[in-house]
Structure formats: structure tokens, C-alpha cells
């Protein structure tokens, strides 16, 4: 019989001795080279080597990691909040051999300091039912394109990217320096038969944030007021009868300037700068190009230490749009609950 409620494995069993000895007693860290963190504790030094991961991996990938960890790390490694792998090296002598071995095997070392790191992302076409775009494919295309900023530390500051394949935002992209968000653009197409067969109509009606869905008792189904629908797909999450996928019109929106750290400035939401880019699978050139442009503009213009959002807030969003030569459209003006706070209630602005 399976044990219930035994909880996660105990983390202490997963910690290498150097960590157990210096637990809570770390003094400072350095980043000797991109992808390598050196943490100095009261009684010992730990090197962590960060390696990029596609996140969607085979068990053989994981076993390969284990082989490396056994050889250089006494069998210890960890994953990061951005799904990178970190090899934990307690023996300084093994650091360079590890790096060499990783290089030889084609692992990507980087993602520390003022770099881009892995993109927090989601399931997409691989496994989810609401995606407006793929997740892993877009991430792969973007990371390939920006690789030079992963394995170096030449950016003005850290650049945190997130991708969510639909508005559910499982990639929690809403507070990212650059957010890639899958968006639908057409109202749901109702499968009335399916609704009649077992959808709970009151919940379906309640699920719509804009009140676009109303019951249609005559048909034992619902009616969607297309003018009120902004294609969030929440109804489709509630019921598969509200088909929202639309290959011709689904695609990607780009939002920028969010952050979650409290360093210097308060955490902030990402804000939309491109309402739509097409789903040009398999490599989404419009998306990679748009992101690169924004990134390079930031590199060229930001002060050292300035996150994307801090930079844009300093120069002003209106100035960002003119520098970026991005078209500004009514799509970008908020018209939802907290819209009012985004309106410029000031006569002071740039051109």
C-alpha cells in the first residue's frame, strides 16, 4: 500500500557535504566566469556550474546529468527556479575538468549575472489543450538566437524572459523583462451538442471575465456576444465545447518591462508593446527578431544595472515606442478593470 501524505523527499538527503557544513553560513559569492558561481562559506567553497536545459527532457537526459554529477560533484546537483541545471562542485580541482567535459559534450554553460537565462515556459502544443502557440519551440528559437547573451555577461543587467502559451500564463510571464504570450484573437466557436451533453452552464457563463456569455435556455446552450469577447479562452478551459484554437489567427504578443525582484524598484508588470506576431513555426522569425531588436535597443541605451523596465520607465514609454520604431495602436491601450491608472493624467510627456 502506498503511503499517503508522506510529502517530498527530505532536502537534507540531497545536499552535498560542503553545503551541510556551510548551511546558512555563506559569506559571499563571486562569478568567476559566465555560468560559474563561487560561493564562499565559513568553512568551505562551493562552485556551481549552471547548464541550460530544454526542460522538456527524456529520462536519458537526466541520466546523463547524473553521470556528470557522479564524476565531478560527488553525485549532487540541483535545478534552478528557471529550470537550469546546476552542478555542485565542492572540489575546486574538479571545476575545470567539469567545464571541459561539459564543453566537450555540448552542454550550454551560462545564465549567470548580467545575462539572459533560460526562459520560464510551459507546455504548448506538446501537452496542453488551450495553447495559442507552442512553448518549447518558441523558447528554442529565441534561445538559439540570443545564445551569445547566455554564455556571456555583457548585458546592462539580468534579463528574465517568460513564455506562456495562453492567457492562463502558466509561465507566469506577466512580470518578466520580456514576456512571450500566446494569444487567441477570435471568439470561441460553440459546439452546442457538446454543451448539451454535460456542460454546467452557470459555471460557463460565470467564467467569462467580460460577461460575453449568456445562457440560451431555448437551445439548452449558450450564446457568445462576440463584441464583448476578448478571446481569453477561460470559457474553453471550462468547457471544450467552446473551441478557441484558431490556427489562422492565433499567435504571439510581446510584453516587456516586468520584474519581480525588489532591488531598487518595486516589482512590476510586463506591458504590451507588440499585440500580435504570427505563429510562424517552426522557428518564429518575427518573434526572435522582435525580441532581439528590443534587447539590442536596451543594450545600447540602458544605464549599467538597469533592468528593461527600469530603463523604459526612466526614458518613458512614449520615448521607447519612438526609439523602438514600434507602431503604437489602440490595442496597446488598456481597457480592462485597472485601465485608468495607465492613462496619462499629466501634461508632461515626450514625443
Amino acid at each position: 500500500m502506498a503511503k499517503l501524505d508522506q510529502g517530498p523527499p527530505h532536502y537534507k538527503k540531497m545536499l552535498p557535504p560542503v553545503i551541510l557544513e556551510n548551511y546558512g553560513k555563506w559569506k559571499y559569492h563571486e562569478i568567476p566566469s559566465p555560468g560559474v558561481l563561487k560561493h564562499v562559506g565559513e568553512s568551505g567553497v562551493l562552485y556551481s556550474v549552471r547548464v541550460g536545459s530544454p526542460r522538456l527532457v527524456s529520462i536519458d537526459f537526466v541520466r546523463d546529468l547524473c553521470v556528470v554529477a557522479d564524476e565531478f560533484c560527488d553525485g549532487f546537483l540541483r535545478f534552478t527556479t528557471r529550470n537550469n541545471v546546476e552542478f555542485l562542485v565542492s572540489d575546486e580541482a574538479k571545476l575545470q575538468p567539469l567545464l571541459d567535459s561539459l564543453e566537450a559534450k555540448g552542454y550550454c554553460v551560462g545564465g549567470t549575472g548580467a545575462s539572459i537565462s533560460n526562459i520560464v515556459h510551459t507546455q504548448g502544443w506538446v501537452h496542453c489543450h488551450t495553447p495559442a502557440t507552442d512553448a518549447s519551440g518558441v523558447v528554442k528559437a529565441v534561445m538559439d538566437d540570443l545564445y551569445e547573451y547566455f554564455n556571456t555577461m555583457q548585458l546592462p543587467a539580468k534579463l528574465k524572459m517568460g513564455l506562456a502559451c495562453c492567457l492562463n500564463m502558466c509561465g507566469a510571464a506577466h512580470c518578466s523583462d520580456i514576456a512571450i504570450v500566446g494569444v487567441h484573437r477570435t471568439p470561441p466557436r460553440i459546439n452546442h451538442d457538446m454543451i448539451r451533453k454535460g456542460t454546467e452552464i452557470p459555471s460557463l457563463v460565470a467564467s467569462c471575465p467580460t460577461g460575453a456569455i449568456r445562457p440560451d435556455p431555448k437551445n439548452k446552450s449558450v450564446i457568445v456576444n462576440n463584441d464583448k469577447c476578448m478571446y481569453c479562452g477561460n470559457c474553453y478551459t471550462m468547457s471544450a465545447a467552446m473551441e478557441i484554437l484558431d490556427p489562422k489567427n492565433d499567435g504571439i504578443a510581446i510584453l516587456i518591462g516586468g520584474k519581480t525582484s525588489n532591488a531598487r524598484s518595486a516589482p512590476s508588470f510586463s506591458r504590451m508593446v507588440i499585440p500580435f506576431l504570427p505563429n510562424t513555426a517552426p522557428r518564429w522569425p518575427e518573434t526572435t527578431e522582435a525580441i532581439r531588436k528590443i534587447l539590442e535597443l536596451w543594450i545600447a541605451n540602458a544605464h549599467k544595472g538597469e533592468r528593461v523596465g527600469e530603463w523604459v520607465e526612466r526614458i518613458g514609454w512614449e520615448r521607447f515606442f519612438s526609439l523602438a520604431e514600434l507602431p503604437f495602436s489602440d490595442m496597446l491601450i488598456d481597457d480592462y478593470i485597472f485601465s485608468r491608472e495607465t492613462f496619462r493624467t499629466s501634461a508632461a510627456f515626450k514625443y
Binding site: 492567457l167 506577466h174 494569444v183 484573437r185 477570435t186 471568439p187 471575465p209 467580460t210 462576440n226 476578448m230 478571446y231 481569453c232 490556427p247 489562422k248 489567427n249 499567435g251 504578443a253 510584453l255 518591462g257 508588470f269 510586463s270 506591458r271 504590451m272 508593446v273 499585440p275 500580435f276 504570427p278 510562424t280 520607465e313 526614458i315 518613458g316 514609454w317 512614449e318 520615448r319 521607447f320 515606442f321 519612438s322 503604437f328 495602436s329 489602440d330 490595442m331 496597446l332 491601450i333 488598456d334 481597457d335 480592462y336 485597472f338 485601465s339 485608468r340 491608472e341 495607465t342 492613462f343 496619462r344 493624467t345 499629466s346 501634461a347 508632461a348 510627456f349 515626450k350 514625443y351
Partner: protein
Amino acid sequence: MTEKKTPLLDELEKGKWPSFVTEIKRAAVKNAASAELLQVLEKSYEQRRGHWKHGGIVGVRGYGGGVIGRYVDEPQNFPNLAEFHTIRLLQPSGWFYNTKALRTVCDIWEKHGSGLTNMHGSTGDIILLGCKTESIQPIFDEFSEAGFDLGGSGSCLRTPNCCVGPGRCEHACYDTLEACYNITNEFMDELHRPMWPYKSKIKFSGCANDCTSSIARADCSVIGTWRDTLIIDQDAVKEYVADKFPIQVAVCDKCPTRCLKYNKETQELSIVGEDCTRCMHCINLMPKAIQPGKEKGATILIGGKSTIVQSAFMSWVIVPFMKMETEDDFEPFKDLMRRIWEWWDENGKSRERIGETIYRLGMTKFLKGIEVDPVPQMVFRPRANPYVFWNQDDLDSSGTALDGSKL
């Protein structure tokens, strides 16, 4: 008039600031209603509550507003206050007067009213406080004869007002006095005959100092600005230096965009023009050395109002820059206002200010309705949610074919 005691109000005759109680007493000497007002007010001070009722349709022939009906709650005890209505008169632009005009106001009001007035009401009108229903038409007739007209009340354009502007201010970026006069006259019908969902106000400020507080107090705020770069007179800068004025600390360090640089060696100020937001700070502090640019005009902001119902709103940018130099330049503004009011009239609910209507329906719908193109100056920042409405008709042409080509 029986002399009655007002011990509480008398307390408000003490102190340095001029006393409204003294003023009511001065009026009370000549006018029975004002004398009763003193009593009612003393009663309010005792009881800590007002004693007035509103409502009733009072007005003059040909107009739908301009008079506010007011009645004391105990007419039996205060017969002279049974009717005690307010007359609103359009003030001259910038509240400039010659004494002749002012004396005319006093004389007519002495004849027909309480002899009490607000110079001025919070919207800007000359407020004549307290007259009988029967006096309203005669009062209007006499004022009309003397060159005055009623102000706004009800669901109409309210009396516009403006800052002193070119009349006495070096910062004025357009002629606020003329704009206010000209535009008030243009919209006489909208002002005198309520026909909208609710009230609508316009205020004209000559620069971003916004001395009429238009951004908070008017549905339409017309705020002077310029389009090019501000002008620096380096000789005058040197004079400020000679006067030991702390340019770096007081001006440059407080420039919100830090685009103004002071060079200690050369004693010169320089500016990165495209970074300046025209906030007025540096000009305020160094008016002798810094002036607005040459290409002057106004920013048009919409939506300001106070607390009731949806919260207070401040106006937001709808047109970043509009020329306002000649009378011809007022035309586009008037057209814009007509489109704005029309849209609001069609879409607004009863007692919904235009800011609330725009908030409820979305700025996008509003901009489409008034045929104004969106620009980034309209927002502090773009939307944080991805809840974009797509025009389904355009979509077919902006969709993407499976081969990646645009449809």
C-alpha cells in the same frame, strides 16, 4: 428686522483672516433675507447640520439652467428664506474687472437679491447667493441689459474658466483669455440648455503649472505647452549664478528627466531637448533665463472630475499638441469637443461624466468614436493584460496563412 444673538458665529469674527460672518452681517443690515440667514446659520452652528433643501425648477425664459433652487427647511420661521436661489453669472475671462462692471453687479444684486455673493464660485461663475423665484427673471433681464449672461447649471456645459494667462503671465503658451471667451461663446447653446447625460466642464490653463487645476476639475483640460525645445538665455543664466542661485540643486537635480545640465565652468545650461517633458519646473525657477519654445499650443486632456460616483478622475491626454494661436486654430478644438460630446451623449448613462463613460467602454472605443488616432502620449504605460479586442473584420487581412504569408 429683529436683532438676534449669534454667539457662535461671533466667534468667527475673531482672528486675522477676513470674516464671512462680518460679511453676512453687513448684508443683514440692508436685507431681511440675509438677516434671517444669519439666524439659520447660527442654528446650524448650534445643531451642526445644514438647513437647506434643493430642487424645484427655477429659471429664466429661454434657458434650462443658470439658477439653483434653494429653500430653507423651516420657511414658517424664516419666511424670507422660503426661496433663496442662487444665480450664476458668467464671469469675464480671467476674472478681470473694471470697477464699473463690478459696481453694476452690486447694484443690480442689491436691488433684487440678498446682497451676498461669492466672488467667485468654485467653477468660476459670479455667484449671487439668495433671491426669490419671482425675482429671477427681472434679475436676469437687468443683468442681460448690463452685458452679463447666466452661467451653467444642470446637465450642460458648465461655465468654462481660465488662468490669467497672457494677461499677466510670461508662461502662457496660448491665449487662455481669448480661448475661454471665444469657446464659451461658441457653445452658448450647450451651456444654457442642458441636454447631456450630465455636466461637462472645460478649464483653460496657459501652461503645465495648471493654475486652474484643470486636470482635476474639468472634463476637458486645455493645458498650454510647446512642441519644440525650450529656450535658454545664457546671459540670464550667468546672472542667476551671480545672484548665487543654486542652479544645480534647485533646478537640474529636480528636473524629472535630468535632461538639463549645468556646466559650472562655463556657467551655462544645456538641454537634451527630446528628453524634456515640458513640466515647467526649470522655467518656474528661472523665468528670466528659460522660456517655453516657440512652437506653442496646448495639450487636450479629457475625463477629469471629482469623487462621485466612480472615484475622482484626472483628465488624461487625448491630443498631445494642438495649435491654439489664432481664432482659426480654435476650430479644430471646437470640432473635437463636438465629436467628444456627441460620443458621450450617445454612449453615456444618465449622471455619468465622460471620464466614467470612457473608462466603462474603453479608451479604444472612445478614440474610434471621436476619430482620433492612438499615440503613446495618451498613456503612462501600455496595458499589462493581454485582453485585446481585435476587429474581426480586419483580422482576415492581418491573419497569417499557414505558409507564413500575410492574408
